[in-house]
Amino acid sequence: MSENITTLSDATFDEFVGSSDVPVLVDFWAEWCGPCKQIAPILEEIATEQAGKVTIAKLNIDENLDVTRRFEVMSIPTLLLFKDGQPVQRLIGAKPKGALLQEISAHLG
């Protein structure tokens, strides 16, 4: 995995998302989810191309049930965009890169 993507856990989630200066896009995923694997390379690209505008992070739902439940994730992949520690946008299901960027663009500086 790219060094541009941060792996989060129940223990590190709040601190990381709350203290970030730029919006954080969190990818809720699991090993057994086919569509999650399809968007992984797209998120790698966005992490590199949009560095400084948005931070990409991943949370494995299998291992981190607290955060997964707290944000009522019921389908993966789910991408949640956090701004100042608060969720501002929810994207459910795998999407092409263009569509994904377009949907989050309003929240990026």
């Binding site: 699991a30 086919g34 569509p35 399809q38 968007i39 994730v73 019921m74 993966i76 789910t78 299901g93």
Partner: protein
């Protein structure tokens, strides 16, 4: 800039990738437009990307998962030189040769020019098209049991449909759910015998026959569904946490429906193996198969399309 190719394969399920393997080994340097990520069956790798174990694809005595099988096929096509791109064809012009294809937009210069085209666009899942379905998609309504089953641990769920995929999903979901009710609008299943026996023998699975879902209810997530008995018209409701939709598929023909002959049932019409109504355009897989619709028949028809393409290109002296 327009890229020229001898063979353009549209789609990347078992049909498209088998066609790619064969045409690549014939040194035709095929370009495969594999599609774009989505959580429906309309995505790179096709319907198998959303399945779990595939037990009937020959060569895998212990079974193999759908995504693994498709990852292998893709790697095999790439190994022989197929150029695979993660794009979606948005427009095709088959009126003259070379055929032209656009990805991501319909204007300006075409992205690809091709001497021959192999259409392997497959089929998309059909949704129920009832109130609440779209609003609650991802909040209890799911088209992907393997993705979302995990979230329904110890909860009651329903699977809508009566074919192999409905029964496979239902059986898989019993790993998580407290109960799985299969809702089918008829009183018999079209699923294969082995899948039927497995589902009927599973203690967590019950069947609701002659029943249709009329609406899906819940504020922020699925709480209840409305039902109608298809024989008596009687309405009822049922408390559920999850609705998995597996009522079947529709061939993906939008980008060429006005250029090629279709079968009256909407599938792409083929003759003499894989030939379509336009010379130089071939078809394989579920987009043209309204009868078998299996991974192995899709792969087989992909091979047929590749061989037909190769011979046709030879006859054209190219």
């Amino acid at each position: 800039m327009t890229q020229s190719t001898k063979v353009l394969v549209v789609g990347s399920g078992p049909a498209g990738l088998t066609a790619a393997i064969y045409t690549a080994r014939a040194q035709l340097n095929p370009v495969v437009i594999e599609g774009e990520p989505s959580s429906t069956s309309d995505q790179p790798g096709g319907q198998l990307m959303l399945t779990t174990e595939v037990e009937n694809f020959p060569g895998f005595p212990e079974g193999i998962t759908g995504p693994e099988l498709m990852t292998n096929m893709r790697a095999q096509a790439a190994r022989f030189g197929a150029q695979i791109t993660t794009e979606k064809v948005t427009k095709l012009d088959l009126t003259a040769r070379p055929f032209r294809a656009w990805v991501g937009g319909n204007d300006g210069e075409p992205d690809y020019e091709a001497t021959s085209v192999i259409l392997a666009t497959g089929a998309k899942s059909i949704m129920l098209d009832v109130a609440g379905e779209e609003r609650l998609l991802g909040h209890g309504v799911s088209t992907c049991a393997t993705c979302d089953g995990f979230f329904f641990r110890d909860l009651p769920i329903v699977v809508v449909g009566g074919g192999d995929s409905a029964l496979e999903e239902a059986t898989f979901l019993t790993r998580f759910a407290s109960s799985v009710t299969i809702i089918h609008r008829r009183d018999s299943l079209r699923a294969s015998k082995i899948m039927q026996e497995r589902a009927l023998a599973n203690e967590k699975i019950t069947f609701l026959w002659n029943t249709q879902v009329t609406e899906i209810l819940g504020d922020s997530k699925v709480e209840r569904i409305g039902l109608t008995n298809t024989l008596t018209g009687e309405a009822s409701s049922m408390d559920v946490a999850g609705v998995f939709v597996a009522i079947g598929h529709r061939p993906t023909t939008e980008i060429f429906a006005n250029e090629l002959d279709l079968h009256p049932n909407g599938y792409l019409a083929v003759h003499q193996g894989s030939l379509t109504s336009i010379e130089g355009v071939f078809a394989c897989g579920d987009v043209q198969d309204h009868h078998y619709r299996q991974a192995i028949t899709a792969a087989g028809s992909g091979c047929m399309a590749a061989i037909d393409t190769e011979r046709w290109l030879e006859s054209q002296g190219s």
